[in-house]
Subunit: 192 residues, 4 copies
DNA sequence: AATGAATGAGATTTCATTCAT
DNA sequence: GATGAATGAAATCTCATTCAT
C-alpha cells in the first residue's frame, strides 16, 4: 500500500465526506461510509477532524467560500448588468450541478441550527451582489423599473429551484439559456 | 390515561410524523420523537404503521395526492391560461408554505431511491398540466412563442426554489406577485 | 358474527395454539398469531389461560395424556407381544404424524426446564409399558434373549426418529411396515 | 479490557452462539446471551455477523459441512459394507452427542424454512452414501434382499431418534452397540 | 500516522400483558 | 365474555467514538 501524505489523506476524507453527505444527508451518512470511500480507517478520520459535526461544518464553510469567491470575481470583471446577471445564473447553475446534493442536504436537517450562521452570512452577501447589479441595470434603463430586492429574491429562488430539480427530478432539468430568456423577456406576448 | 379512538391516534401519529420528519429529515427523526409528539408510546406507532419507512412513505403519498387533487381541480375551473398559471403559482406557494420542510426533506436522503416512483409520477402529472396551459396560451397568442416544455420546467423550478427558500433562507422569501410579474413580463425593459 | 360458547372459544384457542406453537416453537409463536388463527382477540386468550406459559403447559399435558391413554388402552386389549409391539409402533407413528411438530417443538427450548417433569413422567410410563411387552415376548420365547431395557430404548428412539424425520426431512419418511420388518427380524427368535 | 485477535473473537462468538442456540432455540436465544457468553459487547457480534439470521445460518452450514466431510472420509477408507454401516452409526451418534441440541433446535422453528435448502442437500448426500453401502452389501450377499432406499430411511430415522433422545430424554439413551445389534440381525442374511 | 476491534448509547422493532370500553 | 388500543420491557440492530496496538 503506497502511503499518502497527511495532506492527501485529509483531502481524500474531505472529498469522500462531500460525496457521502451529499448522497445520504448528515444523519444518513456514517463515518464508516466516508472512511471506506476515502480508503482510510474509521479511526483515521478522527486524526483530521474532531468529530462528524466538525467535518460537516468544515465542508459547508469550504463550499460556500469557494462559491462566494467565484461569484465576486465574476462581478469584478463585468460591468454590463445584463451580462453580469446572465453570467451569475450560469455560474450558479454550473456550480449547483457540481455540488448539488450537498448544498441541498445541508440546507436542512438537525432542527435548522446546523451551520445556520455561516449560511445566512453567505446568502446575505450573495443577495447584496445581485441587488447591486439589478439596481445598476434599472438605473441605466436596461431593466424595467421594479423592486430590486424582490427581483433578487426571485432570481435566487430560481437558482435554488434548479438545484432542487437536479436532485428531485433530474429528468426535467430546465435549460439555463431558456431560463435566462424567460427571466429577461417574460412569458407574455407584448406584441399583441 | 385518556383513551382515543383508533382513528384519532392514527391521525395524531400522522400529524406528528409530518412535523418531526420535516424538522429533522428521515434519518434525523426518531420514532421516540414522533411518539412523544403524538402522545403515544413508541410501540404504539407500530400498531398503525409497519415501520419507519412505511410511515414516511405514507406521508409522501398523502401529501402529493393532496396537492395533485388541488391542482387538478384548479385547472378544471379556469379556462384563461394567464389566470391558470397565476393561480397555479400561488396555490403551489401556499401549499409549499404549509408543508415546506417535509417536501424538501423528502426530496433528498436515502440515496435518492426512497419513494422515487411516487414522486416521479407526481412530477410528470404536474408537468403535463402546466404544459397544457402554456400551449393553450401560446395558441391563443397570449404567451410568447416559446418551447412550452422548457417554460414548464422553469416555472416548476421557480416554485421549487420558493420551497427551498422557505427552508434555507426564510428571511428572504420572494413575494408571489412579484414573482408572477417577473415571469410574465421579464426583467428587460423593452420600451427602450 | 355468530357468537361462540365459552367452550367453543376455549377449544378454538387450544387448536390454534397447538398449530402455531408447532409451526414456530414456543419463543417464535406470538399470542397475536394464536389469536388471529383462533378468530379471537388477543385479550380474549387471557380469559381462558393465565399466560403464554400456562397455555403451552396445558397443551403439553393434554397431548401426552391423550397419547398415554391411547397406548394403555391398546396394551390392555392385546395379549400377543408381537401384535402389541407392531401396534405400538404404528399407533405412535400415526400419532406422531398428527402432532409431529408440536411434540418436537416442545422437546426443546427454554433451557430444558419447560414442562420437564411432565415429560419425564410420560417417557417413564411409556418405557415401562414397552419393556413389559418385550419381557413377556422373551419369556414366551417369541423374542430373542436380549436386554429388554436396551431394546425398549432403541424402539423408542426409532419412533422419535420418525417424528424428527417428519419435520426435518419429510421427503424421506420411512414406511412403518418396512420399519417393523427391520426391527422384527432382529428381534424375533427365528431358531425356534 | 483484554484485546483479542479478530479471529479469536469470531471463534468465541461462534462457540457461544452454538451453545446458546442449542440451549434455547433460535427464537429463545438472544444476542445478549451470546455476547455475554462470548465475552464481547452485543454490538461487537455485528462486526462479525450481519445479523442473528446470518449467524445461525453460518452455524448450520458449518456443522453440516463438518459432519459431511467426516462421513465421506469414513466411507472412502472402508470397503466392507458391514463395517461401513457400523462405523456410520457410531460416528453419527458420537457427532450427535457433541452437537445434539443445536442440530435439533435447528431442525425446527421459523416456519420450516430456515436454511431448508442447505439441510435438504445435506440429507440427500447422506442418503446417497448409505444407500450405496447397503446396495453393495446386498450385492455381495451380506445383507438380506431388501429395498435399499427404505432401509436407508429407517437407519437415518434411527440416528435421528438418538439425537432427539439425547435432548428429550437423556436418561434413557440407547447404547450404540445394542442398537447396531438390533439393526444388523434384521439386516444380515443368516441363511448364508 | 494509522488501524480496526470494541464499546455504549441510542435507534428501531416486537410482543406479552393489561385495561377501558 | 370480549375487544383491541396501549403500554413497557426487552429484543435486534446501528454507529459515533475511543483506544490498544
Amino acid at each position: 500500500m503506497n502511503r499518502r501524505s497527511s495532506k492527501e489523506s485529509r483531502q481524500s476524507i474531505i472529498d469522500s465526506a462531500l460525496k457521502i453527505f451529499s448522497l445520504h444527508g448528515y444523519a444518513g451518512a456514517t463515518m464508516r461510509m466516508i472512511a471506506e470511500d476515502a480508503g482510510i480507517s474509521v479511526g483515521g478520520i478522527y486524526l483530521y477532524f474532531k468529530n462528524k459535526d466538525e467535518l460537516c461544518l468544515f465542508l459547508i464553510k469550504e463550499k460556500l467560500d469557494e462559491f462566494s469567491k467565484e461569484a465576486e470575481d465574476l462581478f469584478k470583471n463585468i460591468d454590463n448588468p445584463l451580462d453580469a446577471i446572465l453570467n451569475y445564473i450560469n455560474t450558479s447553475i454550473k456550480y449547483a450541478k457540481k455540488n448539488r446534493e450537498f448544498i441541498i442536504t445541508q440546507s436542512r436537517e438537525q432542527g435548522f441550527t446546523f451551520g445556520i450562521e455561516i449560511k445566512k452570512e453567505f446568502f446575505n452577501r450573495q443577495k447584496a451582489l445581485i441587488m447591486e447589479i439589478i439596481q445598476k441595470g434599472i438605473d441605466r434603463g436596461i431593466f424595467v423599473k421594479c423592486n430590486p430586492e424582490e427581483a433578487t429574491k426571485v432570481i435566487m429562488g430560481i437558482i435554488r429551484g434548479f438545484i432542487l430539480s437536479v436532485v428531485v427530478d433530474p429528468d426535467n432539468l430546465f435549460d439555463p439559456d431558456e431560463c435566462c430568456r424567460l427571466i429577461l423577456y417574460g412569458l407574455l406576448n407584448r406584441d399583441k
